[in-house]
Amino acid sequence: MKRIFFRRISFVAAAMMLALTMTACSLSDSSKSISKSISSPSVSLSKSSSPKKKYIAEVQDFTAAFIRSGGSAANLRDRIGEMAQKAGVSDWTADGDTWKAIGAGIAKAGYNATERDAFLMNLEPNAAQHKWIFKGYGSYKP
């Protein structure tokens, strides 16, 4: 009897707490976000690992996952552009590291040379980009 009473009390208390506040879970646009971005900007975090290496690995992994999920080449190009800007690369279409990482991602997705070439037909890289992709594809080590 006592247990049931306390169970009901705890339920009522929890329900009251939630009903009163109605903001379970964090808000993404709270004032805390401003404080955080000033106090611990993401640029200050990669103390031990190279930010460039991290970016290259991200592009490579994203490309591989994207290809495996059947995403289109045009969509990949757009998404990589967004990723590059978030890393601080505005001129990403001429950034060799980005295209080499895309090439490595194609290899990581398990595409053979024929599949790779078919994919590149849709990705439509220019000559320099094409060269970088091949370099990244060839240098990928699982």
Binding site: A13, L27, I34, S39, A65, G88
Partner: protein, 688 residues
Amino acid sequence: MDLQRLRLVQALKAAAIAAAASRWTAVSPAARSTALAAVLAVLASTACADTGDTGRAGLAAGGRVEFLHIEANAGDSSGGHAALCFNAGAEAGAAGDGACFHFQHSHGGLIGLTREHRIEVEHGYRVIGNRTIHALELAIRASEYEALLAAFERRYRLEESQTELLIELEKDVAFLDLVAAAARRRDAGGADAAADTSALRIPGTGYFSATEGRHAPSSSRASFGDGAGAGAGTELVDRGLLDRFAASTGEEIDGLPLEPSTRLPAADRSAPAPLWRGPARAWRERIAARTAIAVMRGTLQPRDAMLRTPQRAEPLDAQEIAALRRWEQRLEAVAARLVGSGQSSHGYAALVALARLHAVRASLSSGRLVVLDVFSESAPTISADVVRAETQAVQVLRDERYLDLDRERAAFFSADESSELLWSRLETTAALAADLDAAATHGVALRMPPDRPLPRASARSADLPLPSATAADATAAHARALRRLEHYRASLVAARGYDLIRRNCVTEIAEVIEEVMQDATQDAAQQATQTSLAPGTSTATAGSLNFVPFVSAASLWRSGRVLSERELPSWRRLQLEAMHAREPALRVALRETVVPAAHSYNAHDDDPVFALFTDRAPALRPVFGAVNIATGLVHASVGTLSAPIDGGRRLRRGLSGVLFSLPELAFIGLRKGTYPLAPLGWLPAAEH
């Protein structure tokens, strides 16, 4: 292994069905409390099945997963919060690398996945948010670790792309509204047919002006023209070509299609949403390209007012000056290539290169590091009042950012070749350090850095050219854009709409885990996956209180699948512990309970009003709560009178003070106070 998973999936579903079919109190407490635990324990139990070991021997190297239960605080996540972290504390480069995933109540009532580094999470919640975190290490296997990490990454990218698309659809509506208004005025033959475009933001355009730069004294003027049309810009790109591009860009803007060039995708979970190519984006790209051409032609000048110098940074040395000269040459080549390509999609990148060229030339001219003011003109701020009240914290923050600056400076200048990525980091860090200089010296407001480390300032131009559509066409296009927005928003809300009980930070973590689990059992348990769960109805949390973070953590612990638990005390608790070590306990208790007297906390406008901390005195909580309610009421009463002056700020603080004091009457303490300016160094050194 598969059979064991199948049994657990079935057990989960049975528990969920039972819970849904019954009243809350009628469900067995064990079924309720272990529902979430079962989901998270599935992975662990399969590991144990393979090894016959229920402890650490079942773990694969490098696969460490922690469930964080973050205690509640007033206002932001007052029901508590939850996160799942991968390989925190592991060596850099390890899979996951300290990534934490947590679902936040975000844009337009959606719940969205956030990915942050573990240090950011701890700093954000333990220090700024002043909440204790309970970190529960879960038993997990290497292959499942990889699958889980990949699933969270996939979900993160997917939701990020969907949110970006939603924002772009909103921009289409705002843009077409303006186009339609301008067209109506034009059709009506109004004298002032031009629309005020100053509300539309075009990042990168804020670094140039037709008049401002020319009159500013600067020995480093990085002019691309002399205002009469002949200058350095025309040395980089043929003058005739620039003229042709200027004309063609103008024509493109004039005849810009008001319909998107891509179809609106479904808001499902099959693949990331494509980049939305709507009229607003097309217009922004063309205005950016037009601006870049104008800079090259010399009709716009770079603005000295948009340059920042971190005053405490050392002057440039000879090696750095040599590296900056190479960077200058590269920026010239980049600007020439991008503008010379004639592609409007390169407009923003061209503006960034041209603006940076100005900053680099200013650096070379002054011998000091000069960077662009990267902040958006609409960046949220921490008010000057808070900055002035927290001078000590501001100084520590400034010192921290200067240490960051030293590191980023070394990274850029020691690289074999100039790297835009490294310059972007250096630039953002230097601009933030310069802002903190100004805040520490003059007590001015602090601005929030951009979400990506690139210059984001927009010009507030009221007279930008718009497409010359008819009023009927523009109005119809606006209506269609509005329908697209409403349709997509409704689809997203259906899939990802925040719901206090059915879809929150705990239910969503459980759902991602379930997806991984179901993928793995697909072959062995086809039938089980056929009844896959709809979003927001996770079996792990349905019909129980496991959607509440602290309940889910307790459930996990009781499941026996938690390898260890660590309590990471909040910033105020850390301070109190340090005070207890050097002062009499009674003195600390008396002083630190009373808000105005406390050394561990400064009241500020972002926190609800309260007079007494109740976290260290649970038995007296109702009494303290009554005092806090009275304080809130007094504050709200005064706030009612002062509302016309302060816009109701005091009234809101008072009322929220009353609201968050009510649970204290029932012995529940939510409010702990927060620290709006908290240096990273406040986190215990061993933990970051």
